[in-house]
C-alpha cells in the first residue's frame, strides 16, 4: 500500500487546501475498495505491477486534482480570440517602441552600434511584460465575467450600427498609422532636450526659431488627436461621417499651424557667436535651410489641402449613397 499512499500524497499536494482531507479520504476508500475487489477476484494480494496499473488508470495526480478545481482554465473560449488579438497588438507595439528607443538611444550616444543592439536586446523583457499583463488582464476579465454573470445582461441595441462592406477600413493600416504617430510624438518630445535629433551635427551652430516654441504644443495636441483617431480605426475599423469630419478638422488644424509658422519668415537661426565648420558660410547655410523649410511648409499645406478635398468628396459621395439607399424601397441603413 506504500504506492497508494505516495499516490494520494501527490494528489493532496495539488488540491485546494480546504478540500484536501475530504477528497483524499474519499479517494482512499474508492481505491482501496477497487484493490480489494481485484484481490478477491485473484484470490491473492496484488503485485506491485497490478497496483501500478490501477493507479495509472486512475490518472496522473496533477490531472486528478485538477478535475476537482472549479476553475479549469485561465481564459475561457469566449475571451480567447480577443486575448490573442490583444497580445499580437501589444507585442507588435512593444517591438516598434523598442526599435524607436534603440534608434533614438543610439543617436544620443557616442557608440551608436552598441547602444542600438543594447536597445534591441531589451525586447524579450518588454515582450514578457506585455504577455504577463495582457494574460493577467484577460484572466481577470474572464473571472469577473463568469462570477458576476455579466453575459446575459448585454443589450443587442448597444451593438455598433450596421456597416456596409465597402465602408470597412484596414485595421492593419490604422494600427500602422497609430504606431507611427506615437513614435513621431515620442521623437518630438525628445527634441527640446536633444536638438541634434532634428538638426544633426549642425545643432552646435544652428538653433530653431522662436516660432517653433509657439507651435510646439499645438503640433503635439494635433498629433495626439491623430493617434486617438487611428486607434479608433483599430478598435472599430469602418468609416463613419464623424471620422471624416474629424480628419477634415485635423487637416484644417495642420493648415492653421503651417500658416502661423510660415508667417514667421525664418525657421532656423545661427546660434549667437557660433562658428561654422571650415569652408562653410553660416549665413548662406541658414538661408539654404530656411528655403528648404519654406518648401517643406508649402508641400505640407498642399498635402493638407488635397487630403481635405479627398475627405470632403468621400463624405459627400457616401452621404449621397446613404440617401439613395434610405429612399429606395426596403432601404437599409448605411
Amino acid at each position: 500500500m506504500e504506492l497508494l499512499e505516495r499516490y494520494l500524497q501527490a494528489v493532496r499536494f495539488f488540491l485546494p487546501k480546504h478540500q484536501q482531507d475530504d477528497i483524499v479520504r474519499e479517494l482512499t476508500e474508492n481505491l482501496v475498495s477497487e484493490m480489494e475487489d481485484r484481490e478477491q477476484a485473484c484470490g491473492r494480494p496484488l503485485t506491485e505491477d497490478e497496483q501500478v496499473d490501477i493507479l495509472r488508470r486512475h490518472g496522473h495526480p496533477m490531472l486528478v486534482a485538477g478535475r476537482y478545481q472549479t476553475r479549469q482554465q485561465l481564459i475561457g473560449p469566449a475571451f480567447f480570440p480577443i486575448y490573442v488579438f490583444a497580445l499580437k497588438m501589444g507585442l507588435g507595439a512593444s517591438l516598434l517602441v523598442t526599435a524607436v528607443l534603440a534608434i533614438v538611444g543610439s543617436m544620443l550616444t557616442g557608440d551608436p552600434v552598441r547602444h542600438f543592439l543594447d536597445g534591441l536586446f531589451a525586447y524579450p523583457g518588454r515582450a514578457l511584460m506585455v504577455f504577463a499583463w495582457t494574460t493577467l488582464s484577460f484572466a481577470g476579465l474572464d473571472y469577473a465575467q463568469s462570477n458576476l454573470k455579466l453575459g446575459p445582461k448585454w443589450d443587442p441595441r448597444t451593438l455598433p450600427k450596421l456597416v456596409r462592406r465597402e465602408h470597412w477600413t484596414s485595421r492593419g493600416h490604422s494600427l500602422f498609422e497609430f504606431l507611427i504617430t506615437v513614435a513621431f510624438i515620442a521623437w518630438l518630445l525628445l527634441i527640446p532636450g536633444a536638438p541634434h535629433l532634428l538638426l544633426g551635427p549642425a545643432a552646435s551652430f544652428l538653433e530653431l526659431a522662436p516660432v517653433w516654441r509657439l507651435a510646439y504644443v499645438p503640433i503635439l495636441l494635433l498629433l495626439a488627436s491623430a493617434a486617438a483617431l487611428s486607434l479608433t480605426g483599430v478598435l472599430r475599423p469602418y468609416w463613419t461621417p464623424a471620422r471624416s469630419l474629424a480628419r477634415i478638422g485635423l487637416r484644417a488644424g495642420t493648415l492653421v499651424i503651417v500658416a502661423i509658422v510660415h508667417r514667421a519668415g525664418e525657421w532656423v537661426l545661427a546660434r549667437p557667436a557660433a562658428v561654422a565648420p571650415d569652408g562653410v558660410s553660416l549665413d548662406r547655410l541658414v538661408d539654404v535651410i530656411n528655403k528648404g523649410c519654406e518648401v517643406g511648409l508649402a508641400v505640407t499645406a498642399l498635402i493638407g489641402l488635397i487630403e481635405i478635398g479627398r475627405e470632403v468628396h468621400r463624405l459627400r459621395s457616401r452621404q449621397r449613397e446613404a440617401l439613395a439607399l434610405s429612399s429606395a424601397p426596403g432601404g437599409r441603413s448605411a
Binding site: R25, E26, E29, N30, D37, H58, G59, V64, R67
Partner: protein, 114 residues
C-alpha cells in the same frame, strides 16, 4: 450495441461531448439507489457506461454542490465510505432531463427517417 470505429480525433471529441451529458443523466439515475464512488462506477460499467474515476468523482462533487445529490459518510464493512443518493431537487431535474432526452431522441429519429 457497440459499433467498431477507427481512431479519429474529431470523432473522439464529438463522442466525448455527446457522452458528457448522458453520463450525468446516468449518474443521477443510478443514484436513485444509494451508492458510494467505487460501486457506482462498477454499476455504470456493468451497464456499458464505463467512466474514468478521475471524471466520476469530481462529477459527484459538482452535482452535490448543485444540490442534486446528497452525501454522507457511513461505516460499511468496518470502513468509512461516502455514500451518495439523489436529492428531491435532483429527482425533479432527472425527470426533466429524461423528458428532454426522449424529445431529442424522437426529433433525431424523425430527421433520420426523412
Amino acid at each position: 450495441m457497440a459499433t467498431a470505429h477507427v481512431a479519429d480525433p474529431a470523432f473522439d471529441n464529438l463522442r466525448l461531448e455527446l457522452r458528457r451529458g448522458f453520463l450525468t443523466l446516468a449518474v443521477l439515475a443510478a443514484l436513485r439507489t444509494e451508492q458510494y464512488g467505487y460501486t457506482l462506477r462498477k454499476l455504470l460499467s456493468e451497464h456499458g457506461l464505463a467512466i474514468d474515476e478521475s471524471t466520476l468523482y469530481p462529477l459527484l462533487r459538482r452535482l452535490e454542490t448543485q444540490g442534486l445529490l446528497i452525501s454522507e459518510w457511513r461505516e460499511e464493512a468496518r470502513r468509512n465510505k461516502r455514500f451518495y443518493h439523489i436529492s428531491e431537487q435532483g429527482a425533479q431535474v432527472l425527470a426533466q432531463l429524461l423528458a428532454e432526452s426522449r424529445s431529442i431522441d424522437a426529433a433525431l429519429r424523425g430527421i433520420l427517417a426523412e
